[in-house]
């Protein structure tokens, strides 16, 4: 094995230093320490892993070489969404997320990591403005786990053990909810959607509603991109039965759509990724949870909650952890669920994004999504054999396209679209067989009219 005089990341691997330190400890080598581990538990032999690439340049070349085997959404025009969306990351967001101070901090206290606490508090505050809610967590893993957490919170608050998941919900998120909620809410029931509008089937909800239900959860816009207009009615019904209403929401829609609190949500949740965090193959996610400032609800958050307070220095803002005893860092198995390393950097990035956009930017980006989605749905609908949008409801940035009459499968169509350097919409035929050969298309502010027209031309040729 070729070794260096010292490894750039491991300063004390320099032989003289290492020997000096061993001497100071009073031993000859590290084996004098490791020797206490019983022989039969020791790993013998040599690890079969690749040789190191010690040159930074060669490392970069090696990894670029692997990544070049991918095709990405800058080279191709992508119409994929469904839980991870291509939005533009402003330069300032990237700059701040890459700062070593934020990037490499961890659980430092508020006096030395004051900026981390403030950035996180401001993230929660700005999201609180979008949501019109006063209590917002430090982000959890993703929207799926956030939604599952709201189901568990609801079960604890109500003392009940059933939940209704309503309408078109992402199958990925539904799977997360089921796994996460299982021990407190083993009974997850689904409420259907109207095949015509894509909205929640209220009659089905009424049939399934009971005083055993802890939580009524729905998404807005829903998984099909349809804007749910019956929020108030759903919330009223749920509240009549003493259930808690949790609404999953895409935060980037909140410049143009009413926040769930306005139609009766007790809890809102969703993902911060649309707020300027790069997709990163799904690595960009981070789940938020928000409630009103009701101690009964605040006491049930598992997450760290950062609060603004005072210090011994007059006029200085200080920060601290609110109701720390709730958390598993304080109370272990007696805590509200569990806590750990989750997605705080994405919260900070999302905060920068909201500060950059402001109310005007949030409105404009929302309006742009609405118009592009309406345009794309319309031009695709003009293609013979394609039904678009499949649902009659209003759409935010995603819509379902049905290809049944083309006689082709989504899989075939998407394969052909690759020749046009296009990633077609997400194939719904597995998760929602009742929709036939349908795909979920997504357009955001990154799409131009020409991108959409090119897609329409390509699809026209493919289905012809």
């Amino acid at each position: 094995m070729t070794k260096l005089s010292s490894h750039p990341y491991i300063p004390n691997s320099a032989r003289e230093i290492k020997e000096q330190m061993l001497k100071e400890i009073g031993i000859n080598n590290a084996e004098d320490i490791f020797g206490q581990i019983p022989e039969h538990l020791r790993f013998k032999g040599e690890l079969k892993i690749p040789n190191g690439i010690f040159s930074e340049y060669q490392l970069l070349r090696h990894i670029k070489g692997l990544l070049d085997k991918n095709k990405n959404c800058e080279e191709y025009i992508s119409f994929l969404g469904g839980g991870c969306w291509q939005h533009y990351t402003p330069a300032v967001v990237k700059t701040i997320m890459q700062r070593d101070e934020f990037l490499t901090a961890y659980v430092g206290e508020a006096f030395a990591d004051h900026g981390k606490f403030q950035a996180q508090f401001e993230y929660a505050s700005m999201l609180g403005e979008l949501l019109e809610m006063d209590a917002v967590n430090t982000p959890t893993y993703d929207w799926g786990i956030a939604a599952g957490t709201t189901v568990r919170m609801s079960a604890r608050i109500t003392g009940r053990s059933e939940a209704l998941i309503c309408g078109a919900v992402s199958p990925e998120r539904l799977a997360c909810i089921k796994t996460f909620a299982f021990s407190t809410v083993p009974d997850i029931q689904l409420v259907g959607f109207d095949p015509d509008t894509g909205l929640i089937d209220i009659d089905d909800l009424k049939r399934k509603m009971s005083d055993k239900v802890a939580c009524v959860y729905f998404e807005n816009p829903n998984f099909f991109g349809v804007i749910e207009t019956q929020g108030e009615e759903i919330a009223k019904l749920a509240h009549e039965y003493g259930a808690i209403v949790s609404v999953g929401v895409d935060p980037i829609s909140l410049g143009v759509l009413e926040p769930p609190a306005r139609y009766g949500a007790d809890i809102a949740c969703g993902d911060v990724q649309p707020l300027g965090i790069p997709m990163g193959f799904g690595g960009g996610l981070g789940g938020f949870i928000a409630t009103h400032d009701d101690p009964k609800f605040v006491a049930e958050f598992p997450s760290l909650l950062f609060g603004l307070t005072t210090t011994v220095e007059s006029g200085e803002y200080g920060f601290g952890e609110v109701l720390f005893e709730r958390t598993s860092y304080a109370s272990r198995d007696k805590a509200k669920d569990f806590l750990g390393t989750m997605a705080q950097l994405h919260g900070i990035g999302a905060g920068v994004y909201m500060a950059l956009l402001g109310p005007q930017g949030m409105q404009e980006i929302g309006e742009g999504c609405l118009q592009r989605a309406a345009y794309a749905a319309k031009v695709l609908g003009q293609i013979k054999g394609i039904k678009s949008p499949h649902f009659k409801g209003a759409h935010f940035k995603e819509f379902v396209v049905n290809f049944d009459e083309t006689g082709k499968t989504v899989k075939e169509i998407n394969k052909k679209l690759l020749d046009y350097k296009v990633f077609g919409g997400y194939d719904l035929s597995q998760g929602f067989p009742q929709l036939g050969q349908s795909a979920l298309y997504c357009v955001t502010e990154v799409h131009t009219k020409q991108d959409i027209d090119n897609l329409a031309r390509a699809l026209t040729e493919i289905v012809a």
């Binding site: 538990l41 190191g52 490392l59 990894i63 994929l80 997360c176 690595g283 805590a335």
Partner: protein, 520 residues
């Protein structure tokens, strides 16, 4: 040798930074989103007409309004008021393995080949990233002896939760769910090993340490019964003491029909030294953001890589990453899977940094990481105990700790009234991140946990010893001075701890603060 600098004249940036809402001026803006083309707008009409009025937002969100430079400057100020591990001596956060996070990995993580990948792209267009998943998994298999790894969980506790769900699925399949519901663990094991199984539906039996720093075998014998579903344990635990009975405990739990999970938050000192497999574990996990050099990001995203033995592979969440000899693919067809614990395939952006880290270290240096970690620790511990007679290391006297130790300031507190929380705040005034005392409950009185992993220089360790020694002198001379620290950090000691637990006072958002404290 470089000099050993105790930073007596350090002062952290203190910008006295307003809350961002206080900087707002109506009409200002930081970025302009791309407007749709005129023709497109004309084709569909006004945006507001595209949505029913009932759901249209009537009141614009009360976000701050700032120009771009003001946003940048504000966040740069906040950054400067944060002590990231890459810029300071962060031996402090023991158990967290605060190693250097290489800059090149940040450049890599933002390459379009990863940053601009959608997880649902056609498999033919994601072969590169799937190959990285697959190759990284092979490395973890080798380092642990496990048969397959899951790279979905976004942190350690998340991986532990996934392990608990797998354990649950195993007992359900064997008809034992409800009968076997007890998890055995130990007091110095990370709280997530207690909280995550509890969230999955288990009851916890947490055993206190004996004289060796870990529960004696007899305690396990007494606790294990037909109700035992499994074991969740770290080794070494937060004390840095290697549990010499570990394989015997695993066998006892197996004999009772339970499964054993090894929390490898401590793995930085065991790479190529000892593995989960040889000790008989069914599952283990690595905190990739600790051991494999990826940034902690103010607490995430991380990556909790979960390894399982052959008999548990069928329960892993979907999709798994597979290779058929010519092509990488995602396998969703796993009927006994527990489902999902995170959408898509996990924090790929963390994974790629970890892959870059392990490739930069390689076969030649992976074991060296562990050797230097233990040498650094034992050097630091020896120097600390020699230099500071007030400091103790309880349990297992005379035995080497591996990568960290839980020290006690008991004597100093008895002598001066200055406790670990005071010393911890004061060390911030020396440009050193506050140190980790202990999770709750404190078993060791006035605890301090330090982990000088392999990326710290001998000079950093010497600096740490000297800084602590000076604080001890300060505590003896003027205890109040230390108790009121810090003085030179970004902000001061809080003066109203109770406000954080008081619903009438706590403020989780600016809007709540205005309502409660400004009577807006």
């Amino acid at each position: 040798m470089g000099i050993v600098k105790v930073r007596k004249n350090f002062h952290q940036a203190r910008w006295d930074e307003p809350i961002i809402f206080e900087l707002s001026t109506p009409g200002l803006r930081g970025v302009v989103p791309p407007p749709p083309e005129k023709e497109l707008q004309e084709a569909v009409g006004d945006a507001e007409k595209l949505i029913p009025s009932s759901i249209r937002r009537k009141t614009p969100p009360g976000l701050p309004e700032l120009d771009q430079k003001s946003v940048l400057a504000h966040y740069l100020h906040l950054a400067q008021e944060t002590l990231g591990a890459n810029l300071c001596n962060d031996i402090s956060e023991g158990t967290c393995t605060m190693k250097y996070n290489p800059r090149i990995n940040e450049e890599i993580a933002y390459l379009p080949g990863i940053a601009a990948l959608h997880p649902w792209q056609d498999e033919d267009t994601i072969q590169g990233i799937l190959q990285i998943y697959y190759e990284f998994e092979q490395i973890l298999k080798e380092v642990s002896g496990m048969d397959k790894f899951l790279l979905h969980p976004q942190g350690g506790a998340h991986a532990v939760f996934t392990a608990a769900c797998i354990m649950r699925a195993y007992h359900i399949e064997h008809g034992n769910w409800g009968k076997k519901d007890e998890i055995i663990s130990a007091a110095f094991t990370h709280p997530c090993d207690h909280a995550s199984p509890a969230t999955a539906g288990f009851k916890l039996i947490i055993l206190p340490p004996g004289p060796d720093g870990y529960p004696p075998l007899e305690a396990f014998e007494e606790a294990i019964s037909e109700r035992t579903a499994g074991l969740f344990i770290t080794n070494p635990e937060d004390t840095g003491i290697y549990n010499l009975n570990i394989d015997k405990i695993v066998k006892m739990v197996h004999d009772a029909g339970g499964l054993c999970f090894y929390d490898q938050a401590n793995a930085n000192v065991l790479l190529g030294i000892a593995r989960a497999r040889e000790a008989g574990f069914d599952m283990c996990h690595f905190n990739i953001h600790k051991t494999f050099g990826t940034p902690h990001g103010c607490s995430g995203p991380g990556l909790g890589a979960l390894g399982v033995r052959e008999h548990l592979i069928k329960y892993l969440p979907v999709p798994t990453v597979e290779y058929d000899g010519s092509k990488y693919y995602l396998d969703y067809n796993r009927p006994q899977s527990i489902g999902k614990v995170r959408q898509f395939v996990g924090p790929a952006t963390v994974l790629i940094r970890a892959y870059a880290w392990v490739m930069a270290v390689g076969k030649e240096y992976l074991r060296e990481v562990s050797e230097i970690s233990t040498i650094n620790h034992n050097y630091l511990q020896k120097k600390l105990l020699e230099r500071i007679p007030e400091l103790e290391v309880p349990y297992a006297e005379g035995r080497f700790r591996l990568e960290e130790a839980r020290y006690s300031w008991r004597k100093l507190t008895e002598e001066t009234g200055v406790g670990t929380d005071d010393v911890m705040r004061r060390i911030g005034d020396y440009g050193i991140q506050h140190y980790w005392s202990s999770h709750h409950p404190w078993v060791v009185p006035e605890p301090m946990t330090l982990e000088p992993c392999e990326t710290y220089r001998k000079e950093d360790l010497d600096e740490y010893v000297e800084a602590l020694a000076q604080i001890v002198e300060e505590a003896k001379k003027d205890p109040e001075f230390v108790k009121n620290a810090p003085y030179k950090c970004a902000s001061h000691k809080r003066d109203d701890e109770a406000s954080l637990d008081d619903p009438n006072k706590w403020a989780l958002t600016w809007r709540a603060y205005l309502k409660k404290h400004k009577k807006a």
